[in-house]
Each structure stands twice: as structure tokens, then as C-alpha cells.
Symmetry: C2
Subunit: 425 residues, 2 copies
């Protein structure tokens, strides 16, 4: 194995878990900031498909990309280097994975590990941050927060969430105008299904489309509130009686009192989470069967988390800021931390970046407070609005050509492999 | 019944059928232009819920709206006065409806009838345009074209279509980046369901997201091409083998060789059309069952046709232009016509408004030419791109406040009823 003695270390950056409209803005923040400190950070190598790229020594040399291409990451959705749903086991359970990481890091003189992901990824990042202590390999691991689920602790919000929230709020407002126009002779109930497996943050954002119970959405179905079929149908019937139509935003995680999801596709992902989808149809069919109302439903699915064209400019700024801060924390010698967004005031929204220890981030899920949901369980409170509103504020349109957004595709030139051994996942 | 002798006639305007992101831009064109000709056109009365508003004497006095409110219609989706799916029967089949229309028009001194809709509505407008000949009541009926289905004859395109097309192209491009990022360990096949009951125009627009077979969407399922399950699954498998993922855009009207829709919800709307929905799930499930691939699917539903936030500026301009032209045609003494968009060149896109007789518009459906679909049936040709590209060109963002589009809600003050009789639909 080649011996590395340089004081100047390279950095490894990887995207993990579900991608977002702004995860590349964080990548942009990491890479642009690292490039400003070439005296301390050599090259930024990106893992192809997240941590898998490190394990298989399949890395991308970001130094081969132009400044313009890296800058364009700021307005490009998806994960430019590929992401992955792959969770490292504990050191005891799979020591081979950690030894392999060290082997790759040593071969490529990597001393900084930037991991851009959500809760599961924070856990992986935390494990990597322990390598120096437990396996005597010096690496600084910094977690860059990202998740549309908005469920990381400490940070005011998670980059990626604000843009999904804006998409859902805008789409709900628009679709509601459509449904209202047609209600006399056509659709009476419209159901929009949004993401949010365990927390209703995204569904709550739909509530921003209207200013209260008088306006659409008339009903939000949260994962936090056990589904009461009778009460729900009664509310739908009342709403249609009073307003001629009813708009419902339902979280994919909406569940019966016994915890079963309203829709359960029966399959699981690599993290062992159940794959959900189709709750909109379940709810719409129920309305048709029991109330005889004509319905339509939409399932936003990936559209919501890739909709860079309607990203929140607050979100874009924060996504960039956490990427930048991660590099600055690394340069300051930190390990096992995450830059967190700390809210200083609601109106105007002011925030700053502070440092959160990963031990307090990993495996802790931030639930939506009950006080953010109205007493009847179907709407959002004033406190929730105060929290959400600044997160969707501002537009940050990508450049267009020929009617379509100009998203960058990087060259993604591989780093030459140095190891003879292969690693089988 | 009050006798009306004024030479200055009022106008009736109504929205019909499914609304769009830009139908209100046409309303704006009609009302603003009429306001410029107060010497000839009195007030513009809008039917509440389309033609139903005329039959039930439930009209809105648009003269009570400020110029700013009318101007804001240009950037507000949905139907500001309410639309309806309600088709007049033939004069012989339901003479009472026509006599009622005349009764209402006479009571309110209405001499102009502007009907803003698609194919079925053109038929209604055509029937109304025959009133002067057949029932000796002088009314000029002008059809204002609108339909996301893009299936009206003569006109180059139908206002409403360009914005849906843009939404679908943008969303496909964005979602494809998401799927590509995650394909190694997650979703391999992504299906986006779009509107288009009998014609694949909207599905075709998804093809603009990529530049050819190498890029997403890899497969488009058109209503025009009978679904071949075996060939389709083989294409999906090949695409996933070669590119790791496969993006599919499917029209709600995709059908088996025997004509049955892939998804048939079993219900029908007021026009007797089958209500469709859920084909994405059918296709996705098929991929999972037969190929064992992880899938996701999105159903854009009303989101696609209400997405004013990403409207095509070409579409907005054309929607306004046909509204304006309709009033000008009326002032020129025309009856039984529709302003049609005539393409003069592709690149640069140049177009003008010409006059089409309704007899040549009503009940004629413009199909997508076979030459717009690639030989294999799964993509769009260069000719199709040349046709579609200008229609999605340009962005026309609505104003925003607090992170959300500022859409206008009109006062919609009713016109005082003059008739004692009620009309039961």
C-alpha cells in the first residue's frame, strides 16, 4: 500500500439517501469552499453512488470540472454524483466495511469525509467519525444535513425540505383553483398525496396554500394523527355541502389507529423501510364508495423533491450554506459534527449556522410537534405557519433554454484506482 | 318581459370544460378588449359555471371588477367564473334550453356570446351561433379555443396545451435526474402518468425532456399506439440493463390492442367520457411483477393543467390573443367563428390569428400524426419536436408574496335577475 505523508489531505464527499432539489447546492458549497482553500484541502473526490463509491473505490475527481459546471450545481436537482440507500452496519457487525474505507482513504490521502444526507446517513457519518478513535485512522467526518423529511434534530430545518414544502403549497393552491372551478358539474373531492413517511412536515406545508379552514386544503391527513374513517368522511361531506368541493392533502404515512399505513405496497427498501404509495387512491376510493362523490387524485412522488424549477430561495441558500460551513468546520479541525441551521427570528426570518455534535444528531428523529396540528387533527396552527412560512420564501429560478431548465451534467471523470483488491458489497 | 332596444349590446362570456393554467388569460383578453370598446359593447357578463350560468340566469357582472383584478386574470390558473361540463343537446332534442338561452339573453340585452372551451364546447357554441338563423334571435357566437388536449382542428395549438406541455417536459426532466441518481440501490423504473384521453399530445411533450433515445424519458406510451406488453417489458428491461434506470411517460389514454384502456376507473363524466386514472400504477405493477424491478410512479392529474407557476409564455400570449381576437371578430360582425392560431414558421416561431368557421371546428378531433411518433412507437420524432418546442418556449412567472403565487380571486358580483321563471337543468 502506498504510504501517504502529505500534510495536505484530499476530501471525500458523498450524497446519501433520497436526493432533493437542492442537494447539489450543498455539493456546490462544499466544492467551491474547498477550492478556496487549496493550501489545506487537495482535491474533492465524490463517491459515485454515495458511500458505495468509497467502498468500491469508485470515485469522481471533481477537480476536473470547470468552475462554471460546479456553480451550475447550485441550480441542478437530483444527485450529480449519484446517491445511494446504503447504511453501514456497526463497527462490530461489519468491521470489514470500515477497514475497507480506511484502505481507500489511505490510498487516496483522504482526511476529510463530508457526508450529505438525512437521519440514516448521519448515523453512518457518526460511525465514520469514530474511526480515528477506534481504528486509529485520522479522518474528520462532517455531516451535511439534507432530507425532505425535515426530521433531523437540532437544525431549524433540513435543506431540501423548504423546496418540497414550496412545491406542495404552490401545487395545492393551483389544483384547488382548478377543482373549485369545476365542482358544480365535475370533481367534488381532490386528493393530493405527498411524501413524509413518519412525519407530517410535507403534508403540513400543503396547509400554506390557504389561510385557514375556509380555504383549500380543507383537510390534511397527518401520519401523527390516527386515521378516523368516520370522522374524516363526515368532514368531507360537510365541506362539499358547504363549499361544493373538498381538497385533501394526505401524507404517504397516514395510518390507521393500529399503526398500519393506509397504503402499504408490501415492499421494503434497502434500509428496511416499507415502500409506500397509493394512499391517495385509497382515500379517494373511500370517498367515492361511502359518499358517492366524484374524485380525482394526484401523486406527486419524485416530482415534489426534484422540482428545482420552483425551489425556495431560502432553501437554496441554506443548502449552500451548510456545504460551505462543513468545509470550514473541517478546516477548523472539527470532527463528528454537523452544521445546523439555527433560527434567530421568525419575521423577518433570520438564521445562522452553528455546530451540532453528531452524537446528538444520529438516530434521533424530529417529530412534528402536536401543537402544530389543529385540535381536530385536520389542519395546521398559527405556530406551524410561523415556522413554515419563511422556509418557502423566495423564488430561485434556474436558467432556461428552449423552454426547459438548463441543468448541468458533470463530466464525472473517475479517480484512477490505486488498490488491487475489490470490495464486494 | 322587458323589451330591449339599445343598439349597444352586452356580452356573455363563459368558460367550459376542464380549466387550464391560462383560460383566465383568455378571459382577460376578452374583458380588457371589450372594455376598450364601450361604445359598442356594454357589459361583459360571465356565466357562473359556464353555460349553466346562462340557463339559470346566474351571471357575474365583470364590470364590477377593477382593471387590476382583470389584469391579474392573466396570471391566475383555474376558471375565475367557474366552468362546467355541460353539453347542449341539439335544437330538436332540447328546444327548451335554446328558448331559455334566448329568454336570458333578451332580458339582459346580450348580443355577443363568447364561449371558451374545447371540442365539445365548440359544438355548443356552434349550436348557439345558429340561433339567429333558426330562432330569429340575433346573437353573435364566437368560440374562444382552449383545451389541454390540443385536439381542436385548424388552430396550430390550443391555449392551455403549451403550459401543460411545459409542465410535463420540465417535470420529466427533473424526476429523471432524481431517478438516475438513485438507481444503483433504489428505484429502477419510474412512471409518470399524464393527461390525454384520446391523443398523445401531452405524453409527447414529455419527450422534450431529453434529446433522444439515449436520454429520459426512455419510453412514451401513446394512446395512438396499441400497447404491446411483451415488447414494452423487453424495452424496459433493455433500458435498465444499459442505463441502470428507465423513465416512462404514459398517457392516461394508453390502451390495449382491443381498445380497452390500460386503466379504466369504470365511471363516466357528464359528457359520457370514461373517467380514467391509475394507468401509472398498472404499468408500474406490471414492471414489478414481470421484471422484479423496484418502481415509483407519479400521477400529475390536475397539477399539470393548473401549474400556472411554470406556464409557457407562448401559451399565455396566445391565450390572451384569442380572447382579444374573439371580441374583435364580434365587433367586425362575425358569427359562428373561432380565432385560430396559424403557424407561419417554426424557428423562429411566428404565428398570427386567422378566422375559422365553427362548422369546420365542431366535432372534429385533431389526432396526433403518426409521423410524430417514432417507428418503434416509444418516442417522438424530429418533426414532433419542431412542432412542440416553440409551444413551451418562454417563462411567464406570476407575482409572488410570502413564497406563494398571488392569484386573484374576483368579487364575482351577480347580475340582478330579471326573470321570474326558473330553469331546471
Amino acid at each position: 500500500m502506498p504510504k501517504q505523508t502529505s500534510a495536505k489531505k484530499n476530501a471525500f464527499y458523498a450524497q446519501s439517501g433520497g436526493v432533493t432539489a437542492v442537494i447539489n447546492a450543498s455539493a456546490c458549497g462544499v466544492i467551491e469552499t474547498a477550492r478556496k482553500h487549496r493550501d489545506k484541502i487537495g482535491k474533492v473526490y465524490a463517491g459515485r453512488n454515495g458511500i458505495i463509491g468509497a467502498l468500491t473505490e469508485d470515485m469522481i475527481d471533481t477537480s476536473k470540472e470547470t468552475a462554471a459546471a460546479i456553480a451550475a450545481l447550485r441550480h441542478t436537482p437530483g444527485g450529480a454524483f449519484g446517491s445511494a440507500r446504503y447504511k453501514l452496519k456497526g463497527l462490530e457487525a461489519n468491521r470489514a466495511e470500515y477497514e475497507r474505507l480506511i484502505e481507500v482513504f489511505r490510498a487516496h490521502n483522504i482526511g476529510y469525509f463530508f457526508y450529505n444526507g438525512g437521519g440514516d446517513s448521519a448515523d453512518t457519518c457518526y460511525k465514520v467519525s469514530q474511526l480515528s478513535k477506534k481504528l486509529k485512522f485520522p479522518v474528520q467526518a462532517i455531516h451535511v444535513p439534507k432530507t425532505v423529511d425535515n426530521d433531523l434534530p437540532i437544525t431549524d430545518t433540513c435543506p431540501g425540505f423548504g423546496s418540497v414544502a414550496k412545491y406542495v403549497a404552490v401545487s395545492t393552491r393551483e389544483a384547488a383553483l382548478d377543482v373549485e372551478s369545476m365542482a358544480r358539474t365535475s370533481t367534488k373531492a381532490f386528493v393530493l398525496e405527498v411524501m413524509g413517511r413518519h412525519a407530517g412536515w410535507i403534508a403540513a406545508a400543503g396547509g400554506l396554500a390557504g389561510s385557514g379552514r375556509e380555504e383549500a386544503p380543507h383537510i390534511i391527513l397527518f401520519p401523527e394523527i390516527p386515521f378516523d374513517k368516520k370522522a374524516f368522511l363526515q368532514r368531507v361531506a360537510e365541506t362539499v355541502r358547504d363549499r361544493e368541493y373538498c381538497v385533501i392533502v394526505v401524507s404517504e404515512g397516514a395510518a390507521w389507529p393500529d399503526g398500519r399505513f393506509l397504503a402499504d405496497a408490501g415492499t421494503t427498501d434497502a434500509f428496511g423501510h416499507k415502500q409506500l404509495g397509493g394512499v391517495a387512491q385509497v382515500v379517494a376510493q373511500m370517498i367515492n364508495d361511502e359518499l358517492g362523490l366524484k374524485y380525482h387524485y394526484a401523486i406527486a412522488d419524485y416530482l415534489q423533491r426534484s422540482a428545482r424549477h420552483i425551489a425556495s430561495s431560502t432553501d437554496v441558500k441554506q443548502a449552500y450554506a451548510v456545504g460551505k460551513a462543513a468545509v470550514e468546520l473541517a478546516l477548523a479541525g472539527e470532527n463528528s459534527v454537523m452544521p445546523a441551521i439555527i433560527r434567530k427570528s421568525d419575521r423577518p426570518y433570520r438564521w445562522k449556522i452553528e455546530t451540532a455534535p453528531l452524537s446528538r444528531v444520529a438516530n434521533r428523529e424530529k417529530k412534528m410537534p402536536r401543537r402544530y396540528i389543529t385540535k381536530d387533527g385536520y389542519g395546521i396552527t398559527a405556530a406551524c405557519r410561523r415556522y413554515l412560512e419563511p422556509l418557502i420564501a423566495g423564488e430561485d429560478y434556474p436558467p432556461y433554454a428552449g423552454g426547459l431548465p438548463k441543468y448541468v451534467r458533470l463530466k464525472n471523470i473517475p479517480v484512477a484506482k490505486k488498490l488491487k483488491s475489490k470490495f464486494v458489497l
